[in-house]
C-alpha cells in the first residue's frame, strides 16, 4: 500500500515538474516572439553574416590590388629606363615611388629636405611664425629624416627670437631628451643658460654652462659655454 502511494506521489511530482518545464518553455518562447527579441536576434545574425562576407570580399579585393601593384613593380625598371627621364618621365617616376617602398622613402626624404630648406629660409628672413610652422611639420610628419635635430634647434631659436622663452625652454628640454649627445643640443643648452641669465637666474645659468663644458666634447660648444660663463663672472 505505501509503495503504491509512493509511486503515485512520484508520478504526480514528475508530472508537475514536466508541466512546469513546459510552461517555462512556452513562456520564454512567447516572450521572445511578443517583445521582438527573436526578430532582433535574427537581424543580428543576418548582420553578422553580411559583415563576414564583406570582410572576405575586402580581403580578396586587397589581394587583387596587391597583385596588381606587384605586377606593375616588376615592369617598372624597364619602363623607367626607357621613359622615366626628364620632365616627361615624372608620371612614371611618381608611379614607381608609389609602388616601391624604397622609392617612396626617397620621395619622403626629398619632401622633408624641401620643407626644411623653406623653413630655414623663413628663419633667415625673420619670418618666425612661418618658420615655426615649417619646423613643426618636419618634426611631426618626417620624424625619421636627418633634418629633425636641426629643426628642433631652429625651432627653439625661432621661439627665442619671438621672445617666447617658455616655448623655447620646452623645445630645448625635448632636445635634451631626444638627442642628448648632439652638438646642436649643446648649443641649445648654451641658449638656455643665456635665457636664465636674462631672467637673473645666474646660479642656474652657471650650472648649465658648466654642464655643457663637461658633457659636450665638441670644441665649438665648449668654447661658447666658456665664453658665456666668463660673461657671467664679469
Amino acid at each position: 500500500m505505501p509503495l503504491i502511494l509512493y509511486m503515485r506521489l512520484t508520478s504526480f511530482l514528475c508530472f508537475i515538474l514536466v508541466m512546469m518545464l513546459g510552461w517555462m518553455q512556452l513562456y520564454s518562447r512567447a516572450r521572445e516572439i511578443f517583445n521582438g527579441t527573436s526578430e532582433i536576434k535574427a537581424e543580428i545574425g543576418h548582420l553578422k553574416s553580411t559583415t563576414a562576407h564583406e570582410r572576405i570580399a575586402m580581403a580578396l579585393e586587397r589581394e587583387q590590388f596587391l597583385e596588381f601593384r606587384q605586377n606593375v613593380a616588376t615592369l617598372m625598371p624597364d619602363v623607367l629606363k626607357s621613359k622615366g627621364l626628364g620632365e616627361e618621365g615624372y608620371p612614371y617616376r611618381s608611379l614607381a615611388s608609389s609602388i616601391s617602398r624604397s622609392e617612396a622613402e626617397l620621395v619622403r626624404q626629398t619632401i622633408a629636405k624641401t620643407l626644411f630648406e623653406r623653413a630655414k629660409d623663413n628663419f633667415r628672413q625673420e619670418k618666425f611664425p612661418k618658420a615655426i610652422h615649417g619646423f613643426h611639420q618636419i618634426i611631426d610628419h618626417f620624424g625619421f629624416t636627418p633634418y629633425v635635430a636641426d629643426s628642433y634647434f631652429l625651432l627653439a631659436e625661432s621661439h627665442f627670437k619671438q621672445n617666447e622663452l617658455e616655448a623655447c625652454t620646452g623645445v630645448i628640454q625635448e632636445m635634451v631628451e631626444l638627442f642628448p649627445h648632439h652638438e646642436l643640443t649643446g648649443f641649445a643648452l648654451v641658449r638656455l643658460g643665456r635665457i636664465y641669465q636674462v631672467q637673473n637666474r645666474n646660479e642656474e645659468a652657471i650650472e648649465i654652462f658648466k654642464t655643457v663644458m663637461r658633457s659636450f666634447p665638441q670644441r665649438d660648444v665648449a668654447a661658447q659655454a666658456k665664453a658665456s660663463l666668463k660673461g657671467i663672472d664679469l
Binding site: S11, G22, Q25, M76, P77, I99, R101
Partner: protein
C-alpha cells in the same frame, strides 16, 4: 510505467538541445570549377579534393580561382598534394611535381615556404628562374624591389622546434599517424641541414673571394690614379721650375 515513459518523452522534448555542428554551415567548393573562397574562422579548417589537401589555421583565407590554382591570401596553411596544383601569391608561384608536403605562412608582405616532403618549385615575381626547395629547407619571399624582382632570401634549413609545433597544430591526421611521419622527417631534416651548411660555406667562400678580387682591383685602380697624379705633378714642376 507507460505514464513514466510518456513523462520522460515530454521532458526530453522540452529540453532545448544546441549541438555545435562544425561542418553543417560550410559551403561546397568544387576544386575543378574554381571561384570559391575558404575561410577558417575561429578553428582550423580542412579542404580536401582529389588533387590537394589543405589545412587552414584559424583565420586563414584562401581562394580557388580556377582549375588547379589556389591563391593563398592570408594565414598559415599545411598543404599536401600529388598533382601539379599551382599555389599563387602576389610574390611567387609555387607548385610541386610528384608528392609534396609543406607549411606556408602568408602575411601582407611576405610568404614563407617550409618544405616537409618532396621538392617544391618556386618562381618569384619578375623572374622566370625556377628554384627548387627540397624537404627540410625553408625560403622567404617578399615584395618586388626596385630591380623588378621579388626579394628572396637564400634557402635555409628549417628551425626544428617552431616547425614541428606549427606542423603539429595543422596536421590533419591522428597523433599516432603523425609520429612515424615525424621520425621520417627527422632524418630528411638532418641531411638537409648538413647539405645547406656545405652550400652556405661554398657560397660564403665564393663571396669572400669575389670581395677580395674587388678590393684588389680597387687597390690597383687607386695606385694607377696615384701614379698618374704624381706624373702630372712632376710634369707641372718641370714646366714651372
Amino acid at each position: 510505467m507507460k505514464l513514466m515513459r510518456l513523462l520522460c518523452w515530454i521532458m526530453v522534448f522540452c529540453i532545448d538541445v544546441h549541438v555545435k555542428a562544425e561542418e553543417t554551415h560550410k559551403e561546397k567548393c568544387d576544386f575543378n570549377r574554381g571561384n570559391c573562397v575558404i575561410l577558417a574562422e575561429d578553428g582550423r579548417r580542412v579542404f580536401r579534393s582529389d588533387e590537394i589537401l589543405v589545412m587552414l589555421a584559424p583565420r586563414a583565407l584562401l581562394e580557388i580561382r580556377n582549375e588547379n590554382t589556389v591563391q593563398l591570401v592570408k594565414g598559415d596553411f599545411y598543404i599536401e598534394t600529388e598533382q601539379p596544383v599551382k599555389l599563387q601569391t602576389p610574390y611567387a608561384k609555387i607548385w610541386c611535381e610528384g608528392e609534396c608536403k609543406g607549411l606556408f605562412s602568408r602575411t601582407a608582405v611576405t610568404l614563407e615556404v617550409k618544405s616537409l616532403d618532396g621538392n617544391w618549385r618556386i618562381t618569384r615575381a619578375g623572374e622566370k628562374t625556377v628554384y627548387v626547395v627540397p624537404a627540410g629547407l625553408q625560403v622567404s619571399i617578399g615584395e618586388v624591389a626596385e630591380n623588378g624582382q621579388a626579394q628572396m632570401e637564400f634557402p635555409q634549413s628549417l628551425p626544428w622546434v617552431p616547425t614541428i609545433k606549427q606542423w603539429a597544430s595543422l596536421y590533419p591526421g591522428k597523433v599516432s599517424e603523425f609520429k612515424p611521419e615525424l621520425e621520417k622527417f627527422r632524418q630528411v631534416w638532418r641531411e638537409a641541414v648538413e647539405a645547406v651548411s656545405v652550400l652556405h660555406q661554398t657560397v660564403a667562400t665564393r663571396a669572400v673571394a669575389s670581395h677580395e678580387a674587388e678590393v684588389e682591383q680597387a687597390r690597383r685602380q687607386r695606385l694607377a690614379q696615384l701614379r698618374e697624379d704624381q706624373g702630372l705633378r712632376n710634369l707641372f714642376r718641370d714646366k714651372n721650375p
